[in-house]
Symmetry: C2
Subunit: 822 residues, 2 copies
Amino acid sequence: MGFLDSVSPRAIAASALLLGSLAQGVLAAPSPKADWVRKGPGGSNGYFKKKAHDHIRRAVDGGRRAAELESCAETTTTTITAPKPNPWAPLTNDETAAVVAWLFAQADLNLTVVENATSWDNSIVLVEAMWPNKTDAINYLDADGPAPTKYAHVLLNNRATEDAHYADILVGPLPVDNATTSWSPLAFPYNKGSGGTVRNLDADQDALYEEWIYPIAASISDITLDLWNGTAMGLDNDTLSIWSIDPLWQDDGRITMWNTFWNLPTGEQDDVTLLPLGLYFRSDVTGRDPSQWKFEGWLYNDIFYETTEDFRAAYWSEGFVKNGPNVDGDWARTGQAGKVEPLDLLPPPVQVAPAGSRYGVDVEQKYVEWMGFSFYIGFNRDSGMQLYDIRYQGERVLYELGLQEALAHYAGIDPMQSGTAYLDTFYGFGPYAFELVPGYDCPTHATYLNSSFYADETCRTHVDSICLFEFEADHPIQRHSTGKIISITKNTYFVVRYVATVGNYDYTFSYSFFLDGSMAVEVRASGYIQSAFFANNQDYGYHIHDSLSGSMHDHVLGFKADFDVLGTSNSLELVTFVPHTTTYSWSKGKPRNTMKIDRKFIENEDEGRFNWGANAATQVIVVNENATNKYGEYRGYRILPYTGTAHLTVKDSSNLNNAARWAEYDIQVTKQKDTEHRSTHPLNSQDTFDPPIDFAKFFDGECLRDEDLVLWLNLGMHHIPHTGDLPNTVQTTAHSGIQFTPHNYFLGDQSRRSVNQVQISYGEGEPAVVETFGQFDASSENATCKPSYEPVSVNLEDYVGDIVVRKFPYDPNNPFAETDSI
Amino acid sequence: MGFLDSVSPRAIAASALLLGSLAQGVLAAPSPKADWVRKGPGGSNGYFKKKAHDHIRRAVDGGRRAAELESCAETTTTTITAPKPNPWAPLTNDETAAVVAWLFAQADLNLTVVENATSWDNSIVLVEAMWPNKTDAINYLDADGPAPTKYAHVLLNNRATEDAHYADILVGPLPVDNATTSWSPLAFPYNKGSGGTVRNLDADQDALYEEWIYPIAASISDITLDLWNGTAMGLDNDTLSIWSIDPLWQDDGRITMWNTFWNLPTGEQDDVTLLPLGLYFRSDVTGRDPSQWKFEGWLYNDIFYETTEDFRAAYWSEGFVKNGPNVDGDWARTGQAGKVEPLDLLPPPVQVAPAGSRYGVDVEQKYVEWMGFSFYIGFNRDSGMQLYDIRYQGERVLYELGLQEALAHYAGIDPMQSGTAYLDTFYGFGPYAFELVPGYDCPTHATYLNSSFYADETCRTHVDSICLFEFEADHPIQRHSTGKIISITKNTYFVVRYVATVGNYDYTFSYSFFLDGSMAVEVRASGYIQSAFFANNQDYGYHIHDSLSGSMHDHVLGFKADFDVLGTSNSLELVTFVPHTTTYSWSKGKPRNTMKIDRKFIENEDEGRFNWGANAATQVIVVNENATNKYGEYRGYRILPYTGTAHLTVKDSSNLNNAARWAEYDIQVTKQKDTEHRSTHPLNSQDTFDPPIDFAKFFDGECLRDEDLVLWLNLGMHHIPHTGDLPNTVQTTAHSGIQFTPHNYFLGDQSRRSVNQVQISYGEGEPAVVETFGQFDASSENATCKPSYEPVSVNLEDYVGDIVVRKFPYDPNNPFAETDSI
């Protein structure tokens, strides 16, 4: 069993998902290249096409022109070559297999393959490429230095011991060579000081359910049958499910677990998180010896019973208040429902790309270029897609940009909601980035890329799980009109997107790029809420269905933004609008009520944690104090809220303790260090008082003027689900975003470069004079092709899910050995 | 001369615009119906087509099906009939003409036509439909009451007196009948207590320039020639322009004016606001007798000179510091500039409407329906487009929604910037809503409507100045995926938009409607900044060009949102996430750090002015306490920030005094009253200490529980222009918006009604099973038509500007009498 096997609702939902996705996608007839590989990275849908590069270059250069083509899409290149191989690329299939084989050959590691591992065996959780240190990567990218030496980052689940623990180790250098390859603890990026290990609170999952949870549930089957006509005993005909809190409580050296009952869905949808039943029980599950675990009592209707006897006696006594259950039904299911609007039966507007793609992609290296922007894409198990070396007009703006962690902190009258504070990298974003739905998640004209992750001696691939596309906004980027002349420019932007469904919730992550050099980071959320039983919960949510409360919770999503504005010597300037009363040389000696700007720098890390100012009055700008423009102003990039942000409401959370200090402020800035690479660790939940990474320890007073700065930026939303969240939360309002925008960086607006603007001089009763700046004109005799406005055709029956490549035992000629469990 | 003739930069720019737009658009050959009228309200571009209504109804009803048509667009209806004639409709041409004629017949009004009026004559500024009182309108709409009696709202500029003043009057009832029609002061919507009048500080504009400003400028022509090689003497060959502050200073009973010099543009663009020159002079212009006006001194480089002699002596003395000018050039002009990205020469993505419009419009009544939403459109001179009687699924949600006022408050080291605080309704939004550019401002498939306004005995029409369109977002409204099944729904939304360019700045106002019953109000801003001379301005802006400072300013745009949630008995609930430490029945006696929600109501108007809470922790919800859903929760609509908001930084502004108290908070709520119809008056600038409407007076402690509530919501942006604002501010970051969303209003998400969703069951190596819920399938044998993906063709050479109809003298058979001045 891997480390996904907590007993939390999210773990259960997640496991169900993985099992579900695993059961398909394995090719019946193994071959050296799977069908989707042979067809190219766009898969069989055909919406990613390799097109000839030369035609567009010719058209652009104004040189030789091809004969008129039927469709511009045919002339468009999507294939480019990255300037250097991607230093954040994943391990190759062969590299991963070699590392796994090497690990199993190390007697001191004492490893068992996951499929055969008991709770007293050691196993491998993760094999991934180790991220390069920034110094090495920059030396490689900018100074023709060597490619960073490749290592594997491996996570071991060491359970063959009383002190079950996880261990991060490094294996390398790669390629594996028995003479030179070795392993060592991976400790430097973590500040726990434990040499790269953390205890495993979930080591005895199997025993927990078989020997503890189900027997306890069975002991009150008279009550569960009476209340809900159901039982949870670990049998195939169970109609109830039992989950625990996440993280487990870790006070006073004891490990406390709360469990609760949920009705199981009766359809094929996973709406279990809408079916809580309101009965809870507490256990002390400290240590690895189940005989030492202690059952501590029942809770129903906010009344605590210390023993099962007490609870049973009360339950069957007169006057006991029984609350109704939550039962699956159409109300909890997605799909069409309700009155159809007649005009909705016509096809809605759709965006088409008449010239195919106007961006370049090196699919092999996951390198992308669009209108002066360029970047590499990385992908990891913990936090999914990351962008690296983001440049605009050739200058790096960000070394790294990506999600670190997503927190969902609940509260409620009951211990289940009160005790839940998911740290989603525990489950991982990488494994849940499913295939996207063309025409729904992204336009059909998007380019789709695959993503892969390691699990249980296999490499799994989700086809078409990252999309890249251009989109025309519904409004221009620039306009100015008078009674005589209008100037207006199209607002075409570029998006890189993936969606991760970590259990009940679908997070859509979008990175957008704009013609003026701006960027945006956005998260939208949909999917099923995790709800609460309604009883007594009125201070924590609304009553939204029969016995259901929309459980209040905070979403906080932490992003790392490692800015390099014209190099790594950066400072963070705060520029604030402040009311101001003063007397001017010209104000007749009278004070005037007006305003001015206050400018200050964040001097050091003691000032490095703060929130967006009231009334949006403070601008936050990463500047290079040594790179002033010709007018003496600092060149910089401004960071600003876009579609709302939030940080954690709870102060010093009893669930999280030191495990998510990163969520406490909107903006946090540190000096870049290879030892502070991530704000959190996926196993922070295992030791909340002393987690592998305590973000608060990053703040130790270091100077932040003229330094390499990393900004840790939180997106988020305070969510009190209401009836409109049934069956799913909608993305109209469930969104959060920030923007980065050039600030005194260039001498003028860069969207002026676009030819997709028009200037109209009009009036005097004459036909208007229209200047189109050389933009494409299909009717021109110089046009090399005809735009095609047909949307790309997509057959959703080709939706496939993931591909699994077994790494151990590994047969490179037959990699698609079937697996059927994790 | 109308009341647009202040000497502020905005007034000058605005006058130039109107003159420009006036010079064209007048038809050479008058005819009973203008060309654009005969061709229909969409004008000659052909992108608004009347299509047969019946086809779609048949297709929808599943009854008789037409033979397959070549294009779905042919089957789409856009024509519907409003349930009742629009009670917010403008006056008809005949009504306006009759009112104007009647006014000129009233000897006591002593009116002169604008063209002939001197500064000592009375004239008509405005003739518009008077808005109906809400009680009357609701009685008409909901209870089959009579249509509200129609009156004309007239604004007079009474200058035939020492006490020049503006007077709002009512004329009616309409139609005009000499026996029954009369005029009366319009006083009840204003709280100045002056009987509907306010002084006119601009009465002597002509004298001001001819007798005062130009002679003063001429008196230092030696200096202006030496500094800038230019003069401003009111001559055709002037190369300089002179503007004043707006509002004028009104302290101590004196009227103080500051003037400054600007270089005139040398091209056809109106980039004058980028060309300040840094020399200022002060005058006391109290009263109507120019002989009593006083010149009070010069300011240059932050040194004040009390007399011209002092200034000249200093200027020609050794060591006088001369700052360079700002000179027009390509840096200040829009249009394409800079390196072209090769792929930008291909046509970018574009949105197409394969079925034409999927919404209904009653063009005559300006009534619109889309996917369960319906509303009427109104339009007025002061604040442009307003929406009325917005309903969703037949229930009114908002009685009125629209802009009240836009404030641009500057600050700076100099009196020009420090003294500027534009209240844009003074210039009016209606007159500056120019023709939109299809394919840029709105999609080519949008429906375009005209808008009209009164000016100088004419009715002017801007064709195609309001657009309506559906748009597919780049992301779904709902999704949930597992490893086995995906449910996902398209996010198609509907937009009503217009753009008003009030001088240098273009405001794009968008009202959006979503499938879940949500709405959004958004403003985006582009155009030329008003800049400052750079000298000594470092505490108020960045140095962005040769001698240019990006002058800091606040944009605050006030909207009225008259909510009627299930009737007019509403309350405003605040629901706040708060940190919470408490001991639970189950927490072993230990306190836990968690959170909860605090719920409170705004009890009365004393609590009615507040800001968005820190950390977005407070939800603001208009609820009906008497309309609970089946679970006992209040049904309501939540108001939330969308793309950022702002209120005014300046406290008790010396420029504005009591003229814009509405800008002081984010959210303000009052009890609806016909006497508090608007938050401001377009002439508030004329008497800032005692303006026609002082919004702060609305707050007099009235109860706000179970009352008819009006929310006054501010959008805005704190703007410190940087180099990226040259030549124009871009809309990537210059945006502000709020949303309204159903909150416990329905029992589930209303986007479930859409058929444009899909559910995919996949896995097990089998082809995915795709459920499409009856959505349009062009390949189906039941399809009645083929979608057309070609974008609507638009010829921008048809761009025309406005149409002018003379109202006095009025010849209904020859309405298009040419006019050439205002």
